[in-house]
């Protein structure tokens, strides 16, 4: 059978599916996503210095082929999370990436270092939350700031650092800067800012009005971003956006991703969607005569 493991820099994912940040946001569920769901790696909820309750309900709503969420980066604060949740997550025996959502370089640095000290396999810098001010897209769309954050964090850490971007005009610039500053991989893309209005209530559904669109609706936009980034970067890419089945995962791989994140599909499919996607990729590789995932990464180019 074809080889499903993939190397993202020095990290080895047991298969190319990774739980996306913010989904199933605590240690026990991260473990379960690995052991029972079959994820090849998991990312934690994005952590901040302080405890955050997030926005009041409704915080998430369905739309055509997608979800819009404005959870608002709720988390118990990084210290609490790293103490209580990370150890549970690590019992899943796959790479655990700790997602960090700082509002300045110092916050990114503090949380990332603490994550390393607590045994994280790597950190994922969330440079892209579309519905939280100061922690979001403003950051990822400012290539200089991206450079500074990645450089500082890289300088302080031994474990790999992934930079996660959203959809911005300056995505390629920012990703180049992240690569230049030493990022080990780029994750693209986060959710896209969106709004749902209930026509009977005549009000926005989310308490925060704006949220981030995820799911199949954004898939072809995310594939485009990965395709563009693959043309200019040398570090590994991880695709995020609308993976629901092996077909959408393979599309990302062909566009240039070495792994794919799965988020919203957890609401639509059983938890073993990771397993299903991985098995589907395996069958695809086998049928087409490939021996490993790596052989098809970026295959759609040139």
């Amino acid at each position: 059978m074809p080889k499903l493991t993939v190397k993202i820099g020095s990290l080895k994912f047991s298969n190319p599916t990774e739980l996306a940040s913010g989904i199933l946001c605590n240690g026990a569920l991260l473990r379960r996503t690995a052991t029972e769901g079959g994820a090849g790696a998991v990312v934690t909820k994005s952590l901040t210095n302080e405890r955050r309750e997030g926005y009041p309900n409704p915080t998430i709503v369905g739309v055509r082929a997608g979800l819009i969420n404005a959870i608002g980066l709720s988390n118990p604060g990084y210290a609490e999370f790293l103490r209580h949740e990370l150890p549970l997550a690590r019992e899943g025996k796959v790479c655990v990436m700790v997602s960090v959502a700082g509002s300045d370089v110092g916050e990114f640095l503090r949380i990332s270092s603490a994550a390393e000290d607590s045994g994280a396999d790597g950190v994922e810098l969330n440079l892209s939350c579309p519905h939280v001010k100061k922690r979001g897209l403003e950051m990822g769309s400012d290539p200089e700031l991206v450079h500074e954050v990645v450089k500082e964090v890289k300088g302080a850490l031994k474990i790999p650092v992934h930079a996660k971007f959203g959809l911005t005009d300056r995505l390629t610039d920012a990703a180049l800067k992240a690569e230049g500053a030493g990022a080990d991989a780029i994750v693209a893309i986060n959710t896209i800012k969106a709004t749902a209005i209930d026509i009977h209530a005549r009000k926005p559904v989310l308490s925060n009005i704006y949220g981030g669109l995820s799911g199949p609706a954004i898939h072809s936009i995310a594939v485009r971003c990965v395709y563009e980034l693959y043309e200019i970067l040398s570090i590994p890419l991880i695709g995020s956006g609308g993976v629901e089945d092996w077909q959408t995962a393979v599309e990302f791989l062909l566009a240039g991703a070495r792994a794919v994140q799965i988020g919203s599909a957890v609401a639509i499919k059983e938890l073993n969607v990771f397993n299903k996607v991985a098995r589907g990729i395996e069958r695809y590789l086998d049928t087409c005569g490939f021996k490993s995932v790596e052989e098809i990464v970026g295959c759609a180019h040139g």
């Binding site: 199933l24 473990r31 915080t59 998430i60 959870i71 118990p76 549970l88 209930d198 919203s264 073993n272």
Partner: protein
């Protein structure tokens, strides 16, 4: 029960009828449509107690909820909260709302012909395939139980309905339970009706007098913990309907997690097999909206 098989085993609690519950098999549980709110006209409001009102919602476009399942109920401007279904049928769904804070207070202000916005039904349901039932409710926990009692009585099954409250005015659905042919026992903390004290005090009493195959319980977590202990001591399976802070209600956010097994109360629950709960923080820890662990 192996924790590895939680996904499968929790499906045991989901109604296996593919017509009633198309999500129970296959690999798509839901479509994105299911997470869209639908307007539900309030057809009737009944006052169940000084603090509790029932709302009869016209909800033809929703799937028929099973006893134990819940809706996410949104009142624009006031918030969204999970609410158990306390009756359903004929295109109408009843929810029973205790006034406990800001959102439920706004809901209580609504009048007939008003509109609530709902999505669901979500979650697992009570398994109703035993023969004789003890239903133990506390506070608005009576809501899912009274719906279960209706289904039980239609299936010709017998049962006892035991509820507790502070004051007799707050005892819910005793009349309706009798109508469903259940024997009713009550306990009030101030002694205004029935046993003075907690409903769990009188449980051993029935457990000695009747032979139950199954216990269903819903109410304050500490109460349910006692019910579970007592039931299991006598070897009677207990199904427990849990409550947790819920952001999504459909299994994606993780805020309703039951540690350390990682069950999601919104989708693996809210109805759990009691034995499973003994391996968990049930009765001890829950999580606040930030995901911080707090004492029950």
């Amino acid at each position: 029960m192996e924790e590895k098989n939680l996904e499968k085993s929790s499906n045991h609690l989901i109604h296996p009828d593919p017509v009633l519950n198309p999500e129970s098999s296959g690999d798509s549980k839901f479509t994105h449509e299911k997470f869209v709110f639908k307007p539900a006209k309030i057809e009737k409001i009944t006052v169940e107690s000084p603090k509790v009102k029932s709302f009869y919602l016209k909800a033809n476009s929703l799937d028929l909820p099973l006893p134990g399942q819940f809706l996410m109920v949104w009142l624009p401007g006031a918030g969204e909260v999970p609410m158990s279904v306390s009756d359903a049928g004929g295109g109408s769904i009843r929810i029973t709302v205790a006034r406990t804070g800001s959102t439920t207070e706004q809901i209580h202000k609504l009048e007939e012909k008003g509109t609530l916005f709902v999505r669901g039904p979500f979650g697992s349901n009570f398994k109703l395939d035993a023969n004789s039932y003890l239903l133990v409710g506390g506070g608005y926990g009576a809501a899912p139980l009274i719906y279960a009692s209706k289904v039980l009585s239609r299936a010709g099954k017998k049962g006892v309905y035991a509820v507790g409250a502070e004051d007799s005015s707050e005892l819910l659905f005793t009349h309706e339970a009798r109508k469903h042919g259940l024997e009713v026992y009550v306990a009030t903390e101030n002694g205004s009706l029935g046993h003075r004290g907690l409903v769990t005090d009188i449980m051993n009493d029935f457990l000695r007098r009747f032979k139950f195959d199954s216990i269903l319980t819903c109410g304050p977590e500490r109460m349910m913990y006692k019910v579970l202990r007592q039931g299991l001591k006598l070897g009677i399976p207990v199904q427990v309907s849990l409550e947790r802070y819920m952001k999504c209600g459909f299994g994606i956010c993780g805020s309703c997690v039951l540690d350390p097994i990682g069950a999601r109360v919104c989708i693996d629950g809210p109805v759990f097999d009691g034995k499973l709960l003994l391996k968990t923080d049930f009765g001890k820890w829950k999580r606040d909206p930030s995901g911080m662990r707090v004492r029950v």
